[in-house]
């Protein structure tokens, strides 16, 4: 059972790090798409959505090309000792990338819901754009940002195609829950292990989704001034 425990830990680590890494980009793109009008906005939006609609294997291949040992970005990061290929970091990168579109969408909607009238009131009061972001945009969009994080995390937990293409299925390094289920399925006499892994997968998903619902509700109440 020790390896099941390790698989769950690794899955959580990959999910957390992936989503954490994707978050600044999700906030940036969400904000830009919600608040700015510029030429090429639709194109940017489409590019961000690509990992959602592209076959995951293709995403994995692109990652391998860019972040592999011979890829431009792979070589760039290697200078700082960060290696993605066939490492858990690569699994986190793949997870973050496929989670990104699912995070951007609710975050963008969250920023779009920010009241322009409050924005004006704050600028008349002498607040600049950055201060308004902290005082108004961020708190207003917080439930949406959380929803985006949870959604992204859930997606990251189940990531399979891009991960297996980019970093393969290496036990204790890149073999997350879904990869472990797939690998166990191919071994004889592993019905019990598959059952355990599948149950854990379902449990993790349910916990994160239900937990996020409760959290979002609580924060949303507080932001609307109904909290104590």
């Amino acid at each position: 059972m020790a390896d099941v425990y390790d698989i769950v830990l690794l899955t959580l680590k990959v999910g957390f790090v992936g989503v954490l890494g994707a978050l600044p980009f999700a906030l940036l793109f969400g904000y830009i798409l919600a608040r700015w009008d510029f030429w090429g906005k639709a194109i940017l939006s489409a590019i961000i959505m690509l990992p959602l609609v592209m076959p995951p294997v293709v995403t994995g291949l692109i990652l391998l090309d860019l972040f592999g040992p011979n890829g431009i970005l792979g070589q760039f990061f290697a200078q700082f000792g960060i290696i993605f290929a066939f490492r858990w970091t690569g699994a986190a990168l793949a997870a973050g990338l496929v989670a990104l579109p699912l995070m951007v969408r609710p975050i963008r909607q969250g920023f779009e819901a920010v009241d322009d009238e409050l924005y004006e009131a704050l600028s008349v009061m002498g607040q600049g754009r950055w201060k308004i972001f902290i005082l108004l945009d961020l708190p207003t969009a917080l439930p949406a940002i959380l929803a985006g994080i949870i959604l992204g995390f859930a997606k990251a937990l189940g990531e399979f195609g891009a991960t297996i293409t980019f970093v393969a299925s290496i036990p204790n390094e890149t073999q997350t829950l879904s990869l472990a289920v797939f690998s166990a399925l191919q071994q004889p006499d592993s019905a019990l292990k598959v059952l355990i892994l599948v149950s854990l997968s379902i449990a993790l998903s349910v916990i994160s989704v239900v937990g996020s619902e409760l959290l979002v509700q609580k924060i949303s109440d507080k932001i609307k001034g109904r909290g104590k």
């Binding site: 008349v124 002498g126 607040q127 005082l135 609307k224 001034g225």
Partner: protein
């Protein structure tokens, strides 16, 4: 008091749905009521001064500082203009409590003097409350505190009472009449209630269809108001409060005569004014008994002017004050009214709001 103009708008043009804002005007350290019907450009004018809108042409300056000069491509952002503004709705941040909302526009620690202002606004007990549970009146008081706490050099009030119930309005109006004259900065008060304007402001500015048609002290603008808009002729009658009845009716003296008005908010001995709408006035050539209009002032016809649609404006002199009434031309003939004739001016206690 410094009476040189503090805010100057020159050749300002701004296209808006339904009208073209086109203004040249000045504001000094007084309280100016900006009046006019809905959608005539009052709010747009405030937004231009606040820096929330950019005009297509023109220049806006305050004392030595140029806020905006389209020719020179100069535009100072709203955040640098040091303006206090209260909007039609309170616009408070819902996730912060009252004190934090007030402190938003002020980076230093709140002084004792400012605490006094908060106390005068009657919101001290609310400081640690979330803004979600405030009543409309309370929330607007918080918004006012937020605007006034930062020692702004201009105060803009955009129909600050429009979203408040009657009881809340009365208290805030009292506060405005006491505090605004002490500020000694330009205060612009947008409203379409003449009662409100009359109580709060010393100057009136009347807008119509994106243009300023009248600007001056309140009595002058009020007396010319009719010329600007026939259907809205309004006159002002001033006097002193003599008696307050237990039935909420106050008696006020107007020269040697007396009028009965609603007594709420009045004090014995205090000066008091009424805005009389020309269409609300009934003229009678003799005293009428058993009529529900409680007021019958005697006056003299000084002028009769023909208006459109078979209507006539009758200008009357009551104790040296001019009052206009609008009646049908046919009535003039039937009653045989002529200039110089003595006549009774009838109006209901309920038709006038003293202030």
């Amino acid at each position: 008091m410094n009476s040189s103009p503090q805010i100057i708008l020159q050749g300002i043009k701004l296209k808006r749905k339904g009208f073209m804002l086109d203004v040249n005007c000045q504001f000094n350290n007084k309280i100016t009521a900006l009046i006019g019907e809905n959608g005539c450009g009052k709010t747009s004018l405030l937004r231009l001064i606040a820096g929330l809108e950019k005009p297509e042409t023109g220049k806006i300056s305050q004392s030595e500082q140029v806020f905006c000069d389209i020719k020179k491509r100069a535009f100072i952002k709203a955040k640098y203009r040091n303006i206090g503004m209260v909007f039609q709705t309170p616009r408070l941040l819902p996730h912060l409590n009252v004190l934090k909302n007030i402190s938003l526009s002020f980076s230093q620690k709140i002084s004792i003097e400012q605490m006094g202002m908060i106390e005068n606004l009657g919101i001290t007990h609310l400081l640690d409350k979330p803004v979600g549970g405030l009543s409309g009146g309370e929330a607007q008081r918080v918004a006012l505190a937020r605007a006034m706490i930062r020692n702004c050099s201009i105060l803009l009030l955009d129909e600050p009472l429009s979203a408040i119930d009657v009881s809340g309005k009365e208290g805030l109006l009292d506060y405005f009449t006491k505090v605004l004259p002490l500020l000694n900065i330009p205060v612009i008060y947008v409203t379409h209630s003449l009662e409100e304007a009359g109580r709060v402001a010393s100057d009136f500015m009347l807008m119509h269809n994106g243009k300023i048609i009248l600007h001056g002290d309140a009595p002058t603008v009020l007396s010319q108001y009719g010329k600007a808009r026939h259907d809205g002729i309004v006159s002002k009658l001033s006097g002193n409060v003599m008696k307050l009845g237990s039935d909420k009716i106050a008696t006020m003296s107007i020269g040697k005569q007396q009028a009965q008005v609603m007594g709420m908010g009045l004090k014995i001995g205090a000066k008091c004014s009424l805005n009389l709408w020309a269409r609300d006035i009934i003229l009678a050539s003799q005293i009428v008994k058993n009529i529900s209009a409680r007021n019958a002032l005697s006056g003299k016809i000084v002028n009769i002017k023909n208006l459109a649609n078979g209507q006539v404006e009758v200008v009357l002199d009551i104790e040296g004050q001019q009052v206009s009434a609008i009646i049908m031309a046919r009535t003039i003939k039937e009653m045989e009214l002529v200039i110089g004739q003595e006549i009774f001016v009838l109006f209901k206690t309920l038709a006038v709001q003293p202030y």
